[in-house]
């Protein structure tokens, strides 16, 4: 009972309190400036009925998936390689340390110059946002492999290929998963930013477009959708990790 109270009821109460506060506060401003939750809900339904919402969600998800997978496919192997090669790692480390603090958004002007308006700049920014967390966590996962794992493999005479596939990759896997999880968050945040700046479609564009029409209710509806989808990714990722953890001997 207490468990139910703290796990389900309290978050629900907090949500209700937030909505009530929002509704109350919205009363002080005209709805064009600060729409109430009811107005936003109506706007959401409007966007859903006209199909604008669904097509923009589809576009955003496609960009997000493509860029995220591309970042993973490049960053994981690169991280595995750098993790195993201290010399290359030391060589490339200062470069990464300089590039990493540059917000993906800062790349935007160049991205538009290079790729024009459309899918490419947004995809490029999401790619950058996902790339560094995956790369850095993969490197540290490989570097952090307990030496005894490798000693045992060497002692039994495992061949280098087998050591890589059966020791290094599984040993680094939980750490890589942490990076993949973080990257989902950063990539999703930057998706909206990327689409706001250079795209003609997607959730970010939908928000900017709504501002151009001064439709604050649409803006808030768009923000809400971004938030809820982000929450869904997080839950999905956590479920996936739990499932993996069970398969992985409970260390993921």
């Amino acid at each position: 009972m207490l468990h139910f109270l703290s796990n389900k009821l309290l978050p629900l109460l907090a949500l209700v309190a937030f909505l009530a506060l929002w509704q109350f506060a919205a009363g002080f401003w005209p709805p064009e400036l600060f729409p109430s939750p009811l107005i936003v809900a109506r706007a959401l339904r409007e966007l859903a009925d006209t199909g604008v919402l669904w097509s923009n969600i589809a576009v955003s998800l496609a960009r997000f998936t493509g860029a995220y997978l591309a970042a993973t496919v490049i960053a994981v192997p690169l991280g595995l390689f750098l993790g195993r090669n201290p010399r290359c790692r030391r060589a490339i480390d200062p470069l990464v340390q300089v590039l990493r603090p540059i917000s993906p958004i800062a790349w935007f002007p160049l991205a538009v110059l290079w790729f024009g308006i459309g899918n490419a700049p947004a995809v490029f920014i999401i790619f950058l946002a996902a790339f560094y967390p995956v790369l850095l966590s993969t490197i540290s996962a490989v570097v952090g492999i307990p030496p005894v794992y490798l000693k045992v493999a060497a002692n039994f005479g495992a061949k280098p290929g087998a050591v890589f596939l059966r020791v290094i990759i599984p040993a680094a896997f939980p750490g890589i998963m942490v990076g993949l999880h973080i990257a989902v968050g950063t990539a999703w945040i930057h998706l909206v930013a990327g689409e706001m700046l250079g795209a003609q479609s997607g959730l970010g564009f939908m928000i900017v477009d709504a501002r151009n029409f001064l439709r604050t209710d649409w803006i808030m509806a768009g923000m809400l959708v971004v938030g809820v989808l982000g929450l869904c990714f997080n839950i999905g990722m956590r479920r996936f990790e739990l499932w993996l953890g069970r398969r992985w001997g409970g260390i993921a």
Binding site: P146, K151, A154, G157, A162, V167, P170, G249
Partner: protein, 264 residues
């Protein structure tokens, strides 16, 4: 020195360069012969070079001077015929008990049904048949070390090195595993080199006990314990060798503390 020594240390020595560039001697030249099928314990306080010595024999480290030979061949690196068992088990957490034992067999090139049969046999030998499909984190420390022992024995090595294998276990589990190890040794008869800092453990297990001393690491004394196994832990016979070892250790201890005082 007999010609038929299984492991031969001939003035084997280990030096390191310290971070400040000084030349440090971890192990003064050590000469020792270990016969095939023998159970030898290396015992001594920390810094006596016992782990360094076993690492030289197992091929994890290289000698700075002198030679280590096993079966007449110089040790150049690790060898699947000479398996090391570590204090922290070195089990793969993503593999089950069976999977961990299979890893060793697969590395040796044994596959499929044959590997499965062999793994099952050795898991049974250490009494873990019921935990065959458990993951390491579901096992106690003692069970984990039994898995590591099963994994090592499954590849049928002629030499087994153990580096403080029971150091992290509670006293009851330790005594149980000591007896288990003796049983397995008597059944399979590998040459065993067992590193410990526990004098009681050394004298209870070893056919010979090599007492080592620090600063630099060296052999202080080799004590024969010509008692049959299984031994009586509190028996008269063992008591005598125990006393001898403790008195000798007392000398080592006095030396090392006076060294420390001298340095201060």
């Amino acid at each position: 020195m007999t010609v038929s020594a299984k492991i031969r240390l001939d003035a084997a020595e280990k030096r390191y360069a310290s971070p400040r560039g000084e030349d440090l001697q971890a192990l003064a030249p050590v000469t020792l012969d270990i016969a095939s099928g023998e159970f030898v314990c290396l015992v001594g306080p920390s810094g006596c070079g016992k782990t360094t010595l076993v690492n030289l024999m197992a091929g994890f480290e290289k000698t700075s001077a002198g030679a280590v030979t096993i079966d007449g061949r110089p040790v150049r690196g690790t060898d699947p015929d000479h398996i090391m068992i570590f204090q922290d088990y070195g089990l793969y957490p993503w593999r089950t008990v069976l999977g961990n034992v299979l890893f060793a067999l697969e590395a040796k090139g044994i596959k499929g049904k044959e590997a499965l049969a062999k793994a099952t046999e050795y898991i049974e030998l250490v009494g873990l048949t019921k935990s065959r499909d458990s993951f390491p984190h579901q096992l106690s420390g003692g069970m984990k070390q039994r898995v590591a022992i099963a994994r090592a024995l499954a590849v049928e090595p002629s030499v087994l090195f153990l580096d403080e294998p029971f150091g992290a276990l509670d006293a009851f589990t330790r005594m149980y595993l000591q007896d288990e190890l003796l049983r397995l040794w008597q059944e399979k008869r590998p040459t065993v080199v067992f590193v410990t800092h526990d004098l009681d453990e050394a004298v209870y297990l070893g056919g010979r006990v090599v007492l080592m001393a620090p600063g630099p690491g060296r052999i202080q004394k080799v004590i024969d314990v010509p008692l049959p196994w299984p031994r009586e832990r509190l028996g008269e016979g063992l008591g005598r060798y125990r006393r001898e070892l403790f008195e000798e250790f007392h000398l080592v201890h006095q030396q090392s503390t006076s060294d420390v005082e001298y340095e201060i």
